[in-house]
């Protein structure tokens, strides 16, 4: 996964205490994933990141979003922190072996290093759980 320098430089005082971090890259696994499992994966990604950030002391999950783009369709998922309120929408397609994943976390009330740590470790753990190989076709 390629980390982006996605911090808000606090040039406007309005941005105080809000930090963001984004990841994007290609992931793949040998066994194709069908659309139902892909939707579950997207939802679990949102829940895992948000719960991790709340454990780290985030005052508010500003917005966590993900975008999954593959040959047969796309999904977008987001959460504002409530596990019951994760949304996953998009266009389903045939099972796929690989896709492009984008994740953005924008959080209020924790340091930027914490947003990085929580986002990266959560993405890694969910990818591993679903048996995806990460860092494949790394975007440079």
């Amino acid at each position: 996964m390629k980390p982006f320098n996605g911090f808000i430089k606090p040039k406007s005082p309005a941005h105080e205490e809000i930090n963001s971090y984004g990841l994007s890259g290609s992931v793949a696994r040998k066994k194709a994933i069908n659309y139902k499992e892909l939707r579950r994966f997207a939802a679990e990604l949102m829940t895992t990141i948000s719960q991790s950030l709340l454990r780290y002391g985030a005052k508010d999950i500003g917005h966590i979003k993900a975008y999954i783009e593959h040959d047969n369709g796309f999904l977008h998922a987001d959460t504002l922190g409530d596990p019951a309120d994760v949304t996953v929408k998009g266009r389903d397609g045939e099972p796929v072996n690989h896709f492009r994943l984008v994740v953005n976390s924008v959080i209020y009330g924790v340091a930027k290093e914490t947003v990085i740590e929580a986002t990266e470790s959560s993405v890694t753990s969910v990818l591993l759980k679903y048996r995806f190989e990460k860092d494949l076709n790394r975007e440079e």
């Binding site: 309005a14 994007s24 508010d60 917005h63 975008y67 984008v102 924008v106």
Partner: protein, 205 residues
């Protein structure tokens, strides 16, 4: 080209509203372009809108209210020249200050035929109380509401009557001049009033 901002704190429903609003405006024969600014370097909202067939320009690299205001002006100039939309909807980041964006656009407006539509700020009625409990967050959300011509109390389908009432009172206290509307981008409640405002309302610069 009329410029309309759909602003509001993170997760207030900007993208969902813009998708519905653009569809309605297009059905009336109004040519719409969208300028999206995501927090961070990896755009998500613009990608989603493109998937729904909308004409979108993404601006990354920072917030258009401060860090990349120059990029926004340049992009607006190119949009006006090359695409000639009737309406351009700006979706700023959830942490942007709408008046700073309008001020930055002002420089381009003098060179291009840009008029200003309303600044519509979404206020999430399900989380309003939380926003106003933290000092820095309260400052940001209050600043956004103060800059609004229209405050749309969003997600009224998911909030209790008491929460909607409290949100309305808080919004009115912060910005007594703004028109306050109730909205559910999810169910479409109140969407017609937003479409009317975007189509018909022009505000001074």
């Amino acid at each position: 080209m009329k410029l309309v901002q759909i602003a509001g704190y993170l997760g207030s429903g900007k993208t969902t509203l813009i998708l519905a609003l653009s569809k309605n405006l297009a059905e009336e024969g109004i040519k719409v372009a969208i300028l999206v600014n995501d927090v961070g370097e990896v755009p998500v909202d613009g990608k989603v809108m493109e998937e729904y067939g909308l004409a979108v320009k993404d601006i990354g690299g920072g917030c258009i209210c401060c860090q990349v205001a120059g990029n926004m002006r340049k992009t607006l100039g190119l949009l006006a020249k090359n695409y000639e939309p009737d309406v351009t909807i700006i979706e700023p980041t959830g942490v942007a200050v709408p008046s700073a964006i309008k001020e930055a656009v002002g420089l381009e407006a003098s060179k291009t035929k840009i008029t200003f539509g309303p600044i519509i700020v979404l206020f999430d009625t399900t989380r309003a109380e939380k926003f106003l409990n933290y000092d820095t967050l309260k400052r940001l959300v209050s600043t956004q509401l103060r800059d609004a011509d229209i405050i749309a109390l969003n997600k009224v389908d998911a909030a209790s009557k008491e929460k909607i009432k409290d949100s309305k009172e808080s919004a009115h206290l912060i910005n007594p001049k703004a028109k306050i509307m109730e909205l559910s981008s999810h169910t479409g409640e109140g969407l017609g009033s937003i479409v009317d405002a975007v189509r018909d309302l022009t505000v001074g610069d």
